[in-house]
């Protein structure tokens, strides 16, 4: 049983560019959450998708957007990249409701130059 898979694992972008990160949830899971983990920090909640809609959002600007597809996979898009967007982006899948038990992927490490 495959767990949560994310792609790409590493990528480098320059300021002002746009990036798309992808996530396939664990089999049987219908809810996907995205977290940003800056170096040396704990993950911070970006948003959560359920039934193809953004259900809850953290304190992130509109430059961060997402999508969930009918097969429950998800994308995170970040526009107009800033140096401060450099981080590990984690996707987590869960059942609904999750009761705190999220299954995380290994993340996509984004470096903005």
């Amino acid at each position: 049983d495959a767990g949560v898979t994310q792609s790409p694992t590493h990528l480098i972008k320059t300021r002002g560019q746009q990036v798309t990160l992808r996530c396939s949830p664990k089999s049987g899971h219908d809810t996907v959450s995205w977290y940003q983990q800056a170096l040396g920090q704990g993950p911070q909640f970006i948003f959560q998708y359920y039934e193809e809609e953004e259900r809850q959002r953290g304190n992130f600007p509109d430059r961060f957007s997402g999508h969930q597809f009918p097969n429950y996979s998800s994308e995170l898009n970040v526009n107009a990249l800033l140096l401060g967007d450099s981080a590990l982006y984690l996707c987590a899948s869960s059942l609904n409701p999750p009761f705190g038990e999220l299954f995380f992927g290994e993340g996509s490490r984004l470096t903005v130059l």
């Binding site: 767990g3 949560v4 809810t31 959450s33 977290y35 040396g40 920090q41 704990g42 993950p43 911070q44 909640f45 959560q48 359920y50 259900r55 809850q56 953290g58 984690l90 987590a92 609904n96 409701p97 999750p98 009761f99 705190g100 038990e101 999220l102 299954f103 995380f104 992927g105 290994e106 993340g107």
Partner: protein, 116 residues
């Protein structure tokens, strides 16, 4: 808003000795609390969770945590450290909205180093 504070950014213990990772929480009502572990270049994994049942919670790999409301604490312990326990540990609080969805708020993490 709920929050957690991890009191130590780095803990070092010798192999075979007890582990104590400290966490205090702030919540206006009875919280759901969790510990997650992150091994290098690996995804986060749930160690254990407290959801208002027994105050002493047992998790995977011999870890356990005790919820103490009077002290607003949820410290993580293990009787005997193993080299494989070296990782980053996060104390986490869950915030549930009226619609049943929830988001997790992570602490800043404690890096556990095991000395051979």
């Amino acid at each position: 808003a709920q929050s957690v504070t991890q009191l130590d950014s780095h803990v070092s213990v010798s192999e075979g000795t007890p582990v104590l990772l400290r966490c205090n929480y702030s919540s206006s009502y009875s919280p759901s609390l969790f510990w997650y572990v992150q091994h290098p270049n690996k995804g986060l994994q749930l160690l254990l969770k407290y959801t208002s049942a027994a105050t002493l919670v047992k998790g995977i790999n011999g870890f356990e945590a005790e919820f103490k409301k009077s002290e607003t604490s949820f410290h993580l312990t293990k009787p005997s450290a193993h080299m494989s326990d070296a990782a980053e540990y996060f104390c986490v609080v869950s915030e549930t909205s009226n619609f049943g969805n929830e988001k997790l708020t992570f602490g800043t993490g404690t890096r556990l180093t095991i000395i051979p």
